[in-house]
Amino acid sequence: MPRRRLSGIALASPALLWWAGLLVLPVGLVLAYSFFERGVYGGVVYEWTLDNYRRAWDTLYLSVLGFSVRVALETTAISLVIGFPVALFIATRPPRWRTALLVLCILPFWTSLLIRTYAWIVILNDEGLANRALRSLGLVDSSVRLLYNELAIVVGMVSTYLPLMILPIYAALERLGPELGEAAADLGATAWKRLWTILVPLTAPGIAAGCIFVFVPSLGNFIIPDLLGGGRRQMVGTLVQSQFLEARDWPFGATLAVSLIAMLLALVLVQAWLGNRALGEREGPARAL
């Protein structure tokens, strides 16, 4: 048994050392920077301070955080409302169809986020497909502003992270087996009742996992608010970036980054602690791969 442990440690250590140098050290450095003062021309002055954290409580930054949380929550809620029935649809198909349908849902997730986000600019701009569709349907007379606002950001986020909601819910539904068949047998008048009294409680761990999977990356996303928000609406991710690259205030950027990681980590730990680990961490991302 000790031999097994020893060889295990030997096998794992190159990767763990790699992470120590290239993950723990950089993130630790950011943590350290968040307690230092900024230099006059950018950079870091190694003077211990808590000012950065005090400053983060400024309403200006709190409102950015609030907006980020709101967008992430909206994304999660919409993804859940769409993702649950989609997962239910897949899980009630004959077994030989399920994998193919699931793959169909996951596939876009593995394509370039940057390119798909760019595509939404093409679709949502004033002369884009969406506006022309609305006009030809006679719903609007002139172009409506669809881009560079909250709506655009949420649309982009949902189209990106929806598969991460579908996967764990599908996994939970599939696990129900025959119970699912019974519960889904009648989707008519009493369907709602069955949904709320049977399916939702039974798949709660899957739902919780899906919500975490969607919420966590939504909150810290950079590309989507950067491109679809057009710099008009800031989220935490874009704020971190602008503090580092534009304001050249590394300590404050670091403070925002640390706060973001702390929030995400706390969320994930709470979810793990709630005992959904088996379903959440292991199967969710693993199945997406």
């Binding site: 060889s7 950011v30 349908l101 595509a119 929806l162 791969l289």
Partner: protein, 262 residues
């Protein structure tokens, strides 16, 4: 009795969701073949933009850089991630298993600035080295290791360890057992993990943008084309990158699926 109305509405929603998910991809692919190059008017089918793309030397350089970065990151991820998965399998520690997922929680923008800060301190200030493609490789591999380890771990979880003992029993040494019995059974997982990491690296923008220095990878090129003056060439480029990703991921899922549904 299964309600037909319920079935129908579920099916409709599923179809609408697929349309929503694939709309961006379809729009770009369609646009890339539009003679006019404008999203506003269909000017007829044409491969004109693909031709222009082929003549664009900057794009060619960026593609080469991306290829180099992706190959490097994939190789490192496989070399580190595969032993890690084997190590985790032996250690059987839930904490360590969970730790593998931590890199995935960290937002790319946060990792980008963290890497940049550490790089400045260690390499630029102390060693006088500049950012370049190799630093992108290091950063991408940091995430790639986790993906390879997770995919190989799931494979190992389905692996019948008694086949190793059977091989030893039949006269194969530890090394030959690894080569003839363990590796062939784990290989599809390793290849699937490699394909995933390769795809992610090819598509990755945020970290590359911060860690590439003056080098330009394809996503960086695409970003600058999108932000600063869209030319229709970008649609052709995007369509190609999307196609490559889809093919690679389908291959990876196929390899994984074989063991997930035996």
């Amino acid at each position: 009795m299964r309600s037909r109305l319920g079935e129908l509405s579920l099916g409709t929603l599923f179809a609408a969701t697929l349309a929503f998910l694939y709309l961006p991809i379809a729009v770009l692919v369609g646009l890339s073949f539009n003679e006019s190059g404008l999203p506003t008017a269909w000017g007829g089918f044409s491969t004109r933009w693909y031709g222009e793309l082929a003549r664009d030397e900057e794009v060619r350089d960026a593609a080469l850089s991306t290829l180099l970065v992706a190959l490097g990151a994939t190789a490192l991820s496989v070399l580190l991630g595969t032993p890690l998965a084997f190590g985790l399998d032996r250690l059987r520690s839930r904490t360590l298993d969970g730790l593998v997922f931590v890199p995935m929680i960290i937002p790319d923008i946060v990792y980008a600035i963290a890497f940049l800060s550490a790089f400045n301190l260690v390499f630029t200030q102390a060693l006088g080295r500049q950012l370049g493609l190799w630093s992108v490789v290091l950063a991408h591999a940091t995430f790639g290791v986790a993906f390879v380890a997770i995919v190989v771990s799931t494979r190992l979880a389905h692996f019948d360890h008694s086949t190793v003992e059977a091989s030893l029993d039949l006269g194969a040494s530890e090394l030959r057992t690894f080569l003839h019995v363990t590796l062939p059974q784990i290989a599809p997982g390793v290849v699937a993990g490699a394909l995933i990491v390769f795809t992610l690296s090819v598509d990755e923008f945020v970290i590359a943008f911060f860690t590439a220095g003056i080098e330009v990878t394809l996503p960086i090129k695409i970003y600058s084309m999108v932000r600063f003056g869209v030319t229709p060439v970008v649609n052709a480029l995007a369509a190609i990158v999307l196609g490559v990703s889809i093919v690679l991921v389908l291959a990876a899922l196929r390899l994984r699926g074989r063991e997930a549904h035996p």
